[in-house]
Amino acid sequence: MKQSLSAEWLKLRHSRIGIVLAVLPFISLLIGCANYALNREVLTNGWYSLWTQVSLFYGEFFLPILVAIVCAWVCRLEHLNRNWNLVLTAPVPVAAVFMAKWIAASLLILLAQAMFMGLYGIAGLLLALPGPFPAETIGWALRGWYACLSISALQLGLSLRIRSFAVPVGFSLAAVLIGLGLYVAKWGIYFPYSLLTIGMHVLSRDALDPLREALFWTVNAGYGLLFAAWSVRGLKGRDAVTG
């Protein structure tokens, strides 16, 4: 497992994924801040108003797609040349190969979330918002990351099966819309892409009631395990397509 993980880092070391991770949250934040600055007379709730502006598009649309891009990235190298043959004949369990990819993708997404929060703090200071930085938002970002774990398990499963980089990203876009529809229909707690909206408090600041809070954690964990098992099964059972 440790070897698989270090191999993943080795593969990511000189890739330019950092640019992708930095640019997308930065632009989301920049536009959110510009909108906040232009509508300050209406948005009077300080840090929380800024959060609604910066997290709306980022959490609702772009974070799930960023997750899809990161997952496709960590599988990209295997789809080139005949690398699947190499990876699948290495003396490590197939589950370890998947787990290493899952951990690598999760850490990259955590990095993007940390960058987003850092930029949010800096933006708030630059906009001279009253009051201290709301520690609550760090919890929301972490819950968003937790919701991303099940999404990344699913996206990894797709990216491991599909050789094209773009198809899993397209799937993510369609799933985001379905998630938005289910959230509006109050069924969001049962769909992984809506759980991200709920976890990051993108559309509502209200705290979840204890039942829904418990559901958020358990449904997410359930989906994570289910998608991970599906992905490992796919790696074990299907013939590797190389070339």
């Binding site: 997308l24 891009i69 990235w73 990203v169 876009l173 819309l177």
Partner: protein, 249 residues
């Protein structure tokens, strides 16, 4: 023409058209459902302009992403199979191959926009919008959306062919979608520089915000924006073509 036919031949099993239709289905479902919701709250919204404006707004988000995905798939197969080198060794100029790919992608995207127009027409007739089918508006919608899409497609193809890693092309599509979605928030002077905001600027209708409520209004054709879209498409296509044709494989 033979080169263009070969492009269609290469993608015959790539399921690109079903993928476009799937994404369009999600978009149009969203547009029609939110439009129906608006009508149920305010019956004054039961006009052709409402569905046209809703679709044009959503296109700001969807079309850059659909364009990125379609073009990335068509270019990625050359990178993955190392077939660009093979094609370059044939008795066909690389510029013609590049143009054929652009033509093929453009025709698929035109099909997508035509499907959108057809869905809007069916939805409007089913809802019984007054005034009959607004053929002129639908044609202008197709033309305006296609111009903005061509500009986005030219940039996407340049990036997707120049960089083997398709993450960059898809990130650009995502940024385009983000800009397209938030375009109405920008002042007109800023929007002019962002081609992804042209989906709304070239739409046949607009929404005028008033103090308490807004109204739909016909939007006159802005020749300067159309020329800017066409110019961007032309320049990006030419520079991309030159760059890719001269780049060592």
């Amino acid at each position: 023409m033979r080169v263009l036919k070969l492009e269609y031949y290469k993608i015959r099993r790539k399921k690109i058209v079903p993928m476009i239709l799937l994404l369009l289905a999600a978009e149009m479902l969203w547009a029609c459902m939110s439009n129906s919701l608006s009508i149920s709250r305010n019956p004054d919204q039961a006009v052709w302009a409402s569905i046209l404006f809703m679709t044009a707004s959503l296109n700001g988000l969807f079309m850059p992403l659909i364009t990125a995905i379609v073009i990335s798939r068509m270019c990625d197969m050359e990178h993955k199979g190392s077939t660009w080198k093979l094609l370059a060794a044939l008795n066909v100029g690389r510029s013609r191959l590049y143009a054929a790919k652009f033509g093929c992608a453009g025709s698929l995207l035109l099909l997508a926009i035509a499907v959108q127009a057809a869905v809007m027409a069916v939805y409007g007739l089913a809802q019984g919008f007054s005034g009959g089918l607004p053929a002129a508006w639908l044609l202008r919608f197709i033309g305006g959306t296609m111009l903005a899409t061509l500009a986005a497609a030219a940039i996407q193809q340049w990036i997707a062919m120049a960089a083997k890693n398709q993450a960059f092309a898809l990130c650009l599509g995502m940024l385009g979608g983000f800009i397209g979605l938030t375009a109405p928030l920008f002042p007109a002077d800023v929007r002019r520089w962002l081609i992804w905001s042209y989906y709304l600027d070239l739409a046949p209708v607009t929404y005028r915000y008033a103090e308490s409520a807004g109204t739909f209004a016909a939007q006159p054709w802005d020749g300067r924006i159309a020329a800017a879209a066409l110019g961007t498409a032309f320049l990006c296509f030419i520079f991309g073509n030159l760059h890719v044709a001269r780049k060592e494989i």
